[in-house]
């Protein structure tokens, strides 16, 4: 076993020095591979430079002998670059499996060069070296895939955050009246954000009336109803009156069928009705101008 390990690390070092020596040639060949050629379309020199960086990283990893370690320090240097390449490929509509195939395609040319190094391809050290190289290229593929996955996760997390921020604006409808038009499905995280932003607006606007408009909510189940009631209760505790508006006929029926008791919640059919109620309670009367001919209502 110890002999094997010694042979392996010797092969790894050989691969490392081979990559370092043939850096220029490998880079030239890789620059013509689809992966580099299609990403760096502007100039071939750029593709060659990128290939060189990847070769350098591989040789650094090989010299340390950590052929199968995707966390090897050598890969760190090229991770950004690989990430950019993967993102660019993904933008042009490639699936991650296709990208992996392209990375695997890099192996052919470098193995060919490696075989040329040895006069006798059947010699044991030649086989060891080719094997080590194959291992190393497999690890590179893993690194690329991992980069692609983490980039995707980051994107999802960012978009989720954006959705939370975008979907819950608090609007000041009148002096002392604020409203939140809810759009889309309400889950716990979103209703928490809605509740917080609405209550903060109640404080900052010194609003007596807060309107929750659920016209854009596709379905109301017991969970959503519970969230609504909690928001209403919290607003009441702060001294504001909370009105739920925009209950469509279908949703009203669902609520009744589910047996949800919204008795503690003040509801109105539309946002306009809710606003009219809030204005009336504040002693504000809205009427057409006398010159318009209709006179006062």
């Amino acid at each position: 076993m110890e002999q094997d390990a010694a042979a392996d690390s010797a092969a790894a070092r050989l691969v490392g020095s081979f990559l370092e020596r043939r850096r220029e040639q490998i880079a030239q060949r890789w620059a013509d591979e689809p992966l580099f050629r299609t990403v760096f379309t502007v100039s071939r020199d750029e593709a060659v430079e990128a290939s060189k960086a990847v070769v350098d990283a591989l040789s650094a990893v090989a010299v340390t002998g950590r052929l199968e370690d995707i966390e090897a320090p050598g890969f760190r240097a090229v991770r950004d670059q690989l990430g950019r390449m993967v993102a660019s490929r993904a933008r042009s509509g490639f699936t991650s499996a296709q990208i992996a195939d392209e990375v695997a395609g890099l192996r052919g040319s470098v193995t060919e060069l490696m075989r040329g190094e040895f006069p006798d391809p059947a010699a044991p050290d030649a086989k060891d070296c080719v094997l080590s190289l194959a291992l190393l290229m497999g690890t590179l593929r893993l690194v690329v895939m991992e980069t692609a996955l983490s980039a995707g996760e980051e994107l999802i997390a960012r978009q989720r955050q954006q959705l939370l921020e975008v979907a819950t604006p608090v609007i000041k409808l009148w002096e002392g009246v604020v409203a939140v038009p809810l759009i889309g499905t309400l889950d716990s995280a979103r209703s928490q954000v809605v509740m917080e932003s609405l209550l903060n607006a109640v404080v900052s606007e010194q609003a007596r009336y807060a309107i929750l408009d659920i016209t854009g909510v596709p379905t109301v189940d017991t969970l959503v109803a519970q969230h609504l009631m909690k928001t209403v209760a919290a607003a009441r505790l702060m001294g504001a009156e909370c009105i739920v508006s925009g209950i469509r006929p279908a949703i009203a029926q669902t609520i009744v069928h589910l047996g949800i008791d919204l008795g503690t919640v003040l509801t109105h059919a539309g946002l306009a009705d809710a606003l009219a109620y809030a204005l009336e309670r504040q002693g504000i009367e809205v009427s057409p101008r006398a010159t318009a001919g209709a006179g006062r209502l």
Binding site: L199, V203, Q206, R208, A233, A234, L237, M238, G239, A240
Partner: protein, 132 residues
């Protein structure tokens, strides 16, 4: 903390403004202090002619179930003595916590700030929601 009349705890001052009692709570409230406050308010209403109590809790960051119950009890006792109680200035975070806990304090009147609370008490009884 050397053995005052309330066992070393500073009592919460109860101010009388006309026929309204104003109490301002600040920071964390000791359980004993809260009970003492409840007693003080009851006595003040019984002695004087207070028709309303305003409890300003804008300086309170945490309300637990105990303080919530004390507030509800103050309101109930005050109602027995024909006075209305308004809790003013509850912070959003506190309101959310109480709503999550299910402590919606029914029967307690609320207002955004002390000024609104005074307006509420000055107005005739009808616009105020009837407590249960």
């Amino acid at each position: 903390m050397n053995g005052g009349p309330f066992g070393g705890l500073t009592p919460v001052p109860v101010l009388a403004l006309g026929d309204i009692l104003l109490v301002t709570l600040q920071g964390e409230l000791h359980d004993g202090t809260a009970e003492q406050l409840q007693e003080d308010i009851t006595h003040r209403i019984a002695q004087g002619n207070a028709s309303g109590v305003v409890i300003d809790i804008s300086g309170v960051e945490i309300i637990d179930s105990f303080l919530g119950r004390i507030l509800a009890e103050i309101a109930s006792t005050a109602r027995l003595l024909a006075a209305r109680t308004v809790v003013a200035g509850m912070r959003p975070a506190v309101a959310i916590t109480l709503a999550e806990l299910g402590l919606t304090l029914p029967g307690l009147h609320t207002a955004l700030n002390t000024e609104r609370a005074m307006d509420l008490l000055a107005s005739p009884r009808s616009p105020v929601q009837k407590g249960t």
